[in-house]
Symmetry: C2
Subunit: 223 residues, 2 copies
């Protein structure tokens, strides 16, 4: 899957080190750390087997460098996108806060492939944390989570207490991550067809669901 368009042409002009990082990210995101060999990475990068050790010392370090030099910057982009979108929206409402957040994750400047790589990498860390997890939590999740919580609290009534707010944020985050992360599952249900506008649809849904749940309920009516 994901046609390799970027091969020969781009490779010529890119430094070995960068090509290694690109291919490593691609392969690690697709199949995880342990299922990918250094041989495979160097071959994909059209470089020598020894290149990984020369440029990064060892495999583990290459993996970490993928997070440091590729993943973190993209996470910053998402964060920036969230802040900007919120700033541009003027007087913020709950809708705007949630919408900005969801958009930053599901839409934004990244290409679909890039986003897929991005979220597959972090999904791997969520399931099987390595050293990179710590890095990512401290530098990305904690500040982002904090800001979102703060922004949301500002526009919510004071009747909503702190713990409830935290769980609310987790719930929204769960959807945002999940709709990126569980694509295989979603695809098997919704099917591959559907409108390409799916991202917008998802954002709308997340906003709506976050603000009012499944919709107007007819409680106590039964059957």
């Amino acid at each position: 899957m994901a046609l390799k368009i970027r091969n020969s042409n781009n490779h010529k002009n890119e430094l070995t080190r960068d090509r290694l990082l690109d291919e490593a990210e691609d392969l690690f995101s697709q199949r995880g750390y342990h299922a990918v060999s250094v041989r495979e990475i160097t071959k994909a990068a059209e470089s020598n087997l020894a290149a990984v050790n020369y440029h990064f010392g060892n495999k583990q370090n290459l993996y970490l460098e993928v997070f440091r030099s590729r993943w973190l910057p993209r996470a910053s982009q998402i964060q920036q996108s969230f802040k900007q979108s919120l700033k541009n929206s003027g007087n913020p409402t709950p809708t705007m806060v949630v919408q900005s957040f969801a958009r930053a994750f599901l839409e934004g400047p990244m290409s679909a492939d890039e986003r897929t790589r991005h979220f597959k990498l972090i999904s791997g860390e969520l399931v099987q944390p390595t050293e990179a997890f710590e890095l990512v939590v401290e530098q990305v999740f904690r500040p982002l989570f904090g800001k979102f919580l703060e922004d949301l609290r500002k526009v919510m009534p004071d009747t909503v207490d702190e713990k409830q707010m935290i769980l609310n944020v987790f719930s929204i985050l769960s959807m945002v991550l999940y709709f990126n992360f569980a694509r295989p599952l979603i695809t098997t249900f919704v099917g591959g067809q559907e409108h390409n506008d799916i991202e917008t649809r998802l954002v709308d849904h997340i906003v709506q669901f976050s603000l009012s749940g499944v919709g107007s309920v007819k409680e106590e009516v039964g059957k």
Copy 2:
């Protein structure tokens, strides 16, 4: 983590094949398929290196058998729990449907360790699908998802259209999976302390959030 209590004593009375499955499940769930070696599994099961090949043919098959003979039955338990809980609740309301669903996943008869193993295994498949994924989707997710969708539709107004309902179900499922699956992340935020009653708290939250979102909003008020 997860003290090994079940070692020597239980091992004596259990068949090699079962011990292999137990230990395989434990190790695969903790670190994933590729990071675990057959040597490690047989050692943990206090059996011989050749035992895996004798009983299961190869490593991949052992992994699949873990899903077939350990994971699927537990998934059935969850499914049963959902159905029972719903039946017992008499005239169903949206609250009851969502609550039954969330409870089946987050509470229920499994031990905490068992549930952790269960969800770490499926998380791995969601991120890096193997042959087991197909099995699990067809035999568990599709029917469960279908039933939940159906039950929920019965108690929702007809104004909610089909696609919206599907997204609603995904959103609820996302929370339910996420609160099991992203424990490392949640733990780093909420901290390890807190009440042991956390499961009940989470179920309450999911129900509340699913039905009415973040809570009564003060829209258009700003700041």
